[in-house]
Symmetry: C2
Subunit: 241 residues, 2 copies
């Protein structure tokens, strides 16, 4: 029942989505069934982070959280890669809930796990055309239907990262299929190598302005929320913050 | 039953607080019982916006919303000044709810109105020491107790704008009194006159980094959320966006 962990860091704030700004600590699992062109954590699956992967059980992970987080956190975010590939996460999620932590998790919605219904803040983030990936909509619908049947809407949200107009059209289709699920549009970060945080921040603000300008004139987006990634504004492309 | 309106603008996105990023349209009412040193809408109460105040009834306001918002909005935010000074807002709130709009409203929590329990997204924003104002804590507690008794926690949140360490201490005290109410810390904008949006954005990002660095090491802030003002990042000190 080991879990492939590639990074544990924090406490910091959640930079995106439904609990944006929330104080949390991150566990990043290794491995993904996708290879998005603009993946900002490709080191979890492209081999470049291989040396950093540690197989850990739930107790080991929890001890590491306590070591770096002390008593400064009550929320844990599990990210990837695609953590939904890892069945044994159930052990960690159970342990965290027993210890009264809230748990957030993000996955693209390509794989179902029973433990998903235990997550307090579950983000389903299907990938738009610019990613180069193809969404299996039947699968996505099955997963979202299961989720919305079994947990209340406050716990699950959909987030789509937007790079261009085609992505926005894709997002609209997803939103239409699940109008009752809270829906987030997120500005994509096109430049994963820029080392100037300031230049990157200003570019992202410009892209946010573009995205807002599209959304405000489109009645099919009346119920969405548009957000940047706070951690990219704050720390650019730096890892582990 | 007229309402003093000083601005109606949008659709745009909500820049702050619990529904940050949400598409909404703004109605700004005139008048405030406070005079915060760093008020970013002093024109609502310092006389400088006097000529822009129009006394409107609910139907007139609604027609104006429809005129500028067309069918591009389903959420309306009432802001001020302090809209809680205006008893007759009940007529507008009732009309908006009848028409199936969601309504957000922000007030500092110095005055009670019965219509507060009808608001979908109510932000109580008590003002920290840097504002130069003194909080009437008895009053604030009465209001928050009434609110949390009468509406569920998903609808009300507390937000404190932070400029310095004293403000942070004040925020901590407020958070401790109402641990069950979702709590937001917001980066204060110290420079209301800077006309360089870029410089202002970078300064705000720096202040956000400072605020995050304080929060992540403080166990009494484990359940807060830390957010910037998106509209200030996007549009600087420009009005009406
Ligand atoms: S699904 Fe996520 S982790 Fe996987 S390749 Fe795409 S962006 Fe990267
Ligand atoms: S309470 Fe709000 S509107 Fe009134 S002076 Fe303070 S910041 Fe300005």
């Amino acid at each position: 029942m080991k879990i492939p962990v590639i990074e544990i860091f924090g406490p910091t704030i959640q930079g995106e989505g439904a609990v944006i700004g929330k104080k949390t600590i991150f566990i990043r699992t290794a491995g993904c069934d996708y290879q998005c062109s603009w993946c900002d954590s490709a080191f979890t699956w492209d081999g470049s982070g291989k040396e950093d992967i540690t197989m850990m059980n739930a107790e080991e992970i929890f001890r590491e959280l306590e070591k770096i987080g002390l008593d400064n956190f009550e929320h844990v975010t599990i990210s990837g890669g695609n953590p939904a590939l890892i069945k044994s996460l159930s052990t960690l999620i159970r342990l965290l809930k027993e210890k009264n932590f809230k748990v957030g998790l993000e996955t693209q919605g390509s794989v179902w796990q029973d433990w998903m219904v235990e997550i307090d803040d579950l983000t389903i983030s299907p990938k738009p055309p610019s990613s180069g990936m193809k969404t299996d909509f039947d699968r996505l619908e099955d997963i979202l239907q299961l989720l919305t049947k079994r947990i209340d809407n406050g716990h699950v949200s959909i987030k789509v990262v937007i790079f261009n107009d085609k992505d926005l059209q894709y997002a609209k289709n997803v939103h239409k299929k699940f109008p009752a699920v809270p829906f987030y549009l997120q500005v994509g970060n096109e430049d994963l190598s820029d080392e100037s945080n300031e230049r990157l921040a200003l570019m992202l603000i410009q892209k946010l302005e573009w995205l807002v300008s599209k959304v405000v004139v489109d009645p099919e987006f009346n119920n969405v929320r548009v957000l940047p990634q706070l951690h990219t504004l704050l720390w650019g492309n730096k890892k582990g913050v």
